[in-house]
């Protein structure tokens, strides 16, 4: 069980790792906006799955805060792309993120109770780490528009907070 999850996490890291690297041929602002938005939507969906499945108050409260924060940031992102008149553009990185999320969702759907809680929270830690790495090394440095860059920087601080929050929840589950 632990081994299977670890393998899945490694596979996702590998998949994302290679795709982030592919995208490193400098994503455009339109692509960056799409990636950031997709990353937020994925976490909202994962949180909704947790709210529907988990019976643990701490886990549900964490998931609710993920829905609240990511929806708020994505609303700001939508307002910004509208204002800047840039249409978010689908790309390989967004597709890889969605694909990995779908696989994870199916994997989590087979779990219940404490097994689900632990797997969900562990994945939240790994996922936010992954997204934060991409923001720091690729998305923020590549962003051309100052307002988009600034929103991504706030996003990074927010997601670092989420990662720490998830780590805190994980210690409570042990």
């Amino acid at each position: 069980m632990t081994i299977r999850l670890a393998t899945a996490a490694a596979a996702i890291a590998l998949l994302l790792g290679s795709n982030w690297a592919l995208a490193a041929d400098k994503p455009t602002d339109q692509q960056i906006a799409h990636i950031a938005y997709t990353a937020g939507v994925i976490d909202v969906e994962a949180a909704k799955q947790a709210i529907a499945t988990s019976k643990n108050k701490t886990v549900v409260e964490f998931a609710e805060s993920m829905v609240r924060d990511h929806e708020s940031v994505n609303k700001q992102a939508l307002d910004l792309v509208k204002k800047l008149n840039v249409a978010p553009e689908d790309n390989d990185t967004s597709k890889a993120l969605s694909q990995a999320a779908e696989t994870k969702r199916e994997e989590l759907a087979k779990l219940t109770g404490a097994d689900f809680d632990r797997a969900y929270v562990e994945n939240e830690i790994a996922y936010h780490k992954q997204v934060n790495g991409a923001l720091e090394t690729l998305l923020i440095p590549s962003a051309q528009n100052a307002e988009l860059k600034s929103l991504l920087e706030t996003g990074l601080k927010l997601f670092q907070g989420h990662q720490q929050h998830a780590e805190h929840v994980a210690t409570e589950l042990k």
Binding site: R68, D69, S72, Q76, T154, K157, L158, Q160, G161
Partner: protein, 107 residues
Amino acid sequence: MSANPARRAFLALFLGAAAIAVPAQAETVQVTIDRLAYAPAEIEAKVGDEIEWINRDALVHTATVQGGAEVLLPAKKSGRLVLQEPGSFDYICRYHPNMKGHLIVRP
């Protein structure tokens, strides 16, 4: 200058009352939250003072002392806390623990 004893007594009473009222007056110390940071991050106040956190973010935050008081700060709203006991307190946002503040409360 009046030598009227009644007036002198009145003045003494009035000034005396004012002198007592001054140290009892509580202040409000403001902390602004912008882009997931408390500013100023470190504040000093005294027992009886009030801290007002003004949340400029479109996110819900808290000011939470570990094992102690917690103030919920809804998006774009503010929250207040009257300081009850002296001490030196670290506080964080429960939802974003990378937000850190420090509060020194003098007696």
